[in-house]
Every structure is written in C-alpha cells, then in structure tokens.
C-alpha cells in the first residue's frame, strides 16, 4: 500500500485548514495558561456557546450574527474568569483543572436544556453556510472557509505577536507569564493582565466558533468538545510552557489529523483517533517536555 500516493494536494489543503483552526484554539488556551497556569478544559464550551449564538441568530444578517457570537463568547469568558478562575487563583493546578471540567459539563448541560426546548437536539446555523462553498484552484477544491481559517490564523497570530512584542500590556503579559509574583511587585495589575488575556482568548474562541460552525452547521451541546481534547493534547505535545510551541503543537496535531484522515481509506477513519494518539504517545516518549520545547522547562509559580 502506497500511503504517500493518497496524501494528495486536496488532503494537504484540508489538513492545513484544520491545523490553522487548532492553532487558534491552542493560542487561546496557551494565553490563559501563561498568566494563570490554568489549563482551561472549558475552552471548547466557549466555542460551543459561540456556535449556538450563530444558530439562534441565523435569521440575522451575517455580520450581525457574527458580532453577536463574538459578544457572547467574550462576555462568557470574562464571566468565567470572574466567577471561577479568580477565586481559584491560588489553588493547586489539580483543583483548577478539575474545576474547569465541572464548568465544561455545566455549560454543556445548560446548552442541552436550551437546545431541547424544540424537542430536537441540534440547531442549524444556516446564515454562515455560504462560506462552506468550494472554489476550484488548479484542480483542488478549496472551501472558502479554509481560506478564511488560514487567513484568520495568520492575521491573528501576527497581530498577537505585535501586541505581545510592541505594547506595554503585551510586555506585562510576557512578564506575568514568566514570573507573575515579581510582575505584581513592580506594579503590574494582575486583574488587568488576566482579564486582557481572557478577552484575547475569548476573541480567538469566537473566531474558531465561526469557522467550525461554517464547516459543521448543525450545532449540538458537544460541539467542539472532541476538537478541544485533541487541541489540548497538541498543546501538551508542543510544550505548554511557551505560547508559540503550544501553538505549533496545535497546528501539528490538526495537520496530522488531516493528513491521516486523508491517508486512511474511508471505511477505516474510525481508526483516526487511535492513529493520532499513538503518534502523540510516541512523541511524548521521545520528547517528554514537548516536541518544540528547548530543554526541560520548569513550571513557574502562579499568582
């Protein structure tokens, strides 16, 4: 069996698209991890909330619907920070992680209650569907949303790099990620830096919600759940201590998923998660600190 022959241009285009979406989610998770040392398992439910917003506003003009999605996701991110993360800031990482599990399932349950009011599970989000049309480039079908995903990922990462590298708040975020305690002693406002990171991560979640909803217009309570698990694995594989290695990890696992998905015969795609996680285990055995980590990064103390 010649695997390489199956990995054609079509597969690569789709794999890059998936990698871009996962990279955006990885940045969103990595930004909050940087300042709070908290792995937010509930990140997928922010995406889910955005997808439901798109579904419930699908009679609106597309721009209005997308704006509502961003507003809801950002508001929910800030609420999560204020109500859950802030009181837990000094707790152990295990407590924080378990709490984000609880938040994830709480949000999923709320979504279910809201969703089944019409006696069916799943809401169609039709207004953004036209983005899913394909255009043909040199014999390869490229869905418009793939271009949007790659474009959004490049622009978002570029803007983020400028923000972190050139602005005062970005400098303060980098310092907070390295040593929050000393940053606070210098007068860096912890609440402001954390809120800023949470808002940025919310903006990215909303963008991901739009892209994923275009690709999968039927929104259900477990929307983006599997993606979040895969991205979290990717983030750990890349090395969560650094934002850019986490992002690369997210992209890598998305790209690998896409390529393996294309390479496996259709009837064998049930083996996709096994194949991806086998690859992950291999990577973690060979490079325990992360695929892209330079040496063994020590965990930095939290606020």
């Amino acid at each position: 069996m010649n695997v390489l022959a199956v990995v054609d241009a079509q597969t690569l285009v789709d794999a890059v698209g998936l990698g871009a979406v996962y990279a955006l989610m990885a940045v969103g998770i990595g930004l909050v991890f940087g300042v709070l040392r908290l792995v937010n398992f509930a990140y997928g439910q922010l995406v889910m909330a955005g997808a439901y917003t798109l579904a419930f506003t699908s009679t609106w003009p597309v721009a209005g619907s997308i704006a509502a999605c961003f507003a809801v996701v950002i508001a929910l991110s800030l609420l999560m920070e204020r109500a859950v993360f802030r009181p837990l800031r000094t707790s152990s990482p295990a407590v924080m992680l378990v709490t984000t599990f609880a938040v994830a399932f709480l949000l999923q349950s709320v979504a279910l209650i809201v969703d089944v009011r019409d006696d069916t599970i799943g809401e169609p989000a039709s207004s953004v569907a036209p983005l899913n049309q394909a255009i043909s480039l040199a014999g390869v079908d490229v869905r418009k949303v793939t271009l949007v995903a790659v474009g959004v990922a490049i622009v978002a990462l570029g803007l983020l790099a400028l923000l972190l590298g050139r602005t005062t708040i970005g400098l303060q975020m980098r310092a907070a990620a390295a040593d929050f305690r000393t940053a606070r002693l210098l007068g860096v406002r912890a609440d402001r830096v954390i809120a800023f990171a949470v808002v940025l991560s919310g903006i990215l979640a909303a963008a991901v919600a739009v892209i994923l909803t275009v690709q999968n217009p039927l929104v259900s309570p477990d929307f983006a759940l599997k993606d979040t698990i895969v991205v979290l694995v990717g983030v750990v594989v890349g090395g969560i201590d650094r934002l850019w290695t986490a992002t690369l990890g997210g992209f890598a696992i998305g790209f690998a998923t896409g390529v393996i998905n294309g390479a496996l015969p259709t009837e064998q795609t049930v083996f996709l998660p096994s194949a991806v996680f086998a690859l992950v285990i291999l990577v973690l055995i060979l490079r325990p600190a992360g695929l892209f980590a330079r040496g063994r990064g020590a965990l930095v103390e939290r606020v």
Partner: protein, 237 residues
C-alpha cells in the same frame, strides 16, 4: 504630617502559620533617610519587606505610607502607591531585554515622563545603557543587580526597599551597589536596606535596626560601626 515620617510600621506582627516571624515591630523612615535592617538569618528581615509590599498580611499592627494605611494582598497597589522593592535574588526577567525589564518598572510610575526616567537610570548605570538591547539573562550577577535597582527606580518611588542587594556579588561589585545607593540618597529617595553585611550597613545608613528572632533588638548609628563589641552583642543578644 508629624515629623515627615514617610513610612511607618506600628506594632506589626506577621505569622508564617503558627510561627510569629515578626513580633510587635515599630520602625519608621524619615524623608530622604537611608535606614538599615540587619540581623541573622531568620530574624524576620525579608518578612518585614514582604509585609510592607502587601505580599504577607500582618496579623496585628499597621503599616502606613505618608500617614495612609497600606492594604495587604495587592502588591501592585503598594508599588503604585510609591514603594518599590528590589527583591532578593534580583528576580529580573531573563528572557526579556534590559530595556524591557526597565519598562516593566514603569508600571508603578505615577504620571510623568517614562522616557526620561529610563534615561536617568542609564545615566546612573552606564553598563545598562550599553546593553539595553541584550537579553537580561545574559548579564553578569552585578549587572543584573544594577538592572533590578534601575527597574525599581524608574517608577520614581518615594521609598525604595532593597532585600540583600549585595548577596552573592564580588567585593568590587558590592562597592558599585553601595555607590549607587549613595547616588540614590542624593536624589532624596528614602531607602530601607536589608543586608547581611552588618558593619558596612551600619556605617552607611543613617540608622540601622537590628532584628533578632522576629523582634527589634536595638537601633545602631554609624558611630557604632567601629564598636565591634556592640556589633557582636547586637547579633548574639
């Protein structure tokens, strides 16, 4: 304003769990004064600084800056109120550049021109000016200490707290640090200096508090620096 006490600790008690690290401590700084704080390891020197910064909450007593009580729990507010700390072990940001480290210090600055504050630090520590684009982690220990002091100074604090700035530095570099402190005194900044180098601190500071086992043992003046018996008594009492 009673006798221009800029910083005042009044009956402060700080506990680490069930252990009282500092007990009933009265201490004050007048405007423009350099005050030393010495004592053996575990005497409560660093604990006192952490209580002032609000990192540790006093169990009893009050800490006042210009007559206003400081609230514990939010060190960023204490920094913004005008107290800057040069922490033990310097705690510079090794992955950031020298200039970025200094710009972080501007977070606590209350108005005014941040650029000229950076220039003033570069003038005080020319080595920092020469290496402003370098990664701070690549600096030598003495240079990192100058960076940590500079980073505190750009905030134009009313009070500068230093936690063992000479620790682990070569003797010639210690001279540089003390020369910098003398220059800082010229600018009218009040300084609370925690040190292990007892004799040098007593000779340098306007007054020096001696802590032992969490309690104030005595207050020494520069005249006591050469009185070896009194110095030894201060540590062994």
């Amino acid at each position: 304003m009673s006798d221009a006490r800029i910083l005042e600790l009044d009956g402060v008690e700080v506990r680490h769990g069930s252990v009282a690290a500092v007990r009933d401590l009265d201490l004050h700084l007048l405007e423009g004064e350099i005050v030393g704080l010495i004592g053996p390891n575990g005497a409560g020197k660093s604990t006192t600084l952490h209580a002032i910064m609000g990192v540790l909450a006093p169990r009893a007593g009050e800490i006042r800056l210009k007559g206003r009580p400081l609230r514990a729990g939010r060190p960023e507010d204490v920094a913004r109120a005008g107290i800057a700390l040069v922490p033990e072990g310097r705690r510079i940001f090794g992955d950031l550049s020298v200039e970025e480290n200094l710009r972080l210090g501007l977070a606590a600055r209350r108005g005014g021109d941040g650029g000229s504050a950076l220039d003033a630090v570069y003038e005080l520590f020319p080595i920092l000016a020469a290496s402003r684009g370098r990664q701070a982690g690549a600096l030598s220990g003495g240079q990192q200490q100058q960076l940590a002091i500079g980073r505190a100074l750009v905030a134009s604090p009313d009070v500068l707290l230093l936690d063992e700035p000479s620790l682990g530095l070569a003797p010639t570099v210690v001279d540089v640090v003390f020369a910098a402190l003398a220059a800082i005194r010229e600018r009218g900044v009040s300084v609370l200096l925690v040190e292990q180098r007892a004799q040098r601190t007593v000779a340098f500071a306007d007054r020096t508090y001696v802590l032992g086992n969490g309690e104030l043992r005595m207050i020494l003046t520069p005249a006591d620096a050469d009185d070896t018996e009194r110095m030894i008594a201060a540590y062994l009492s």
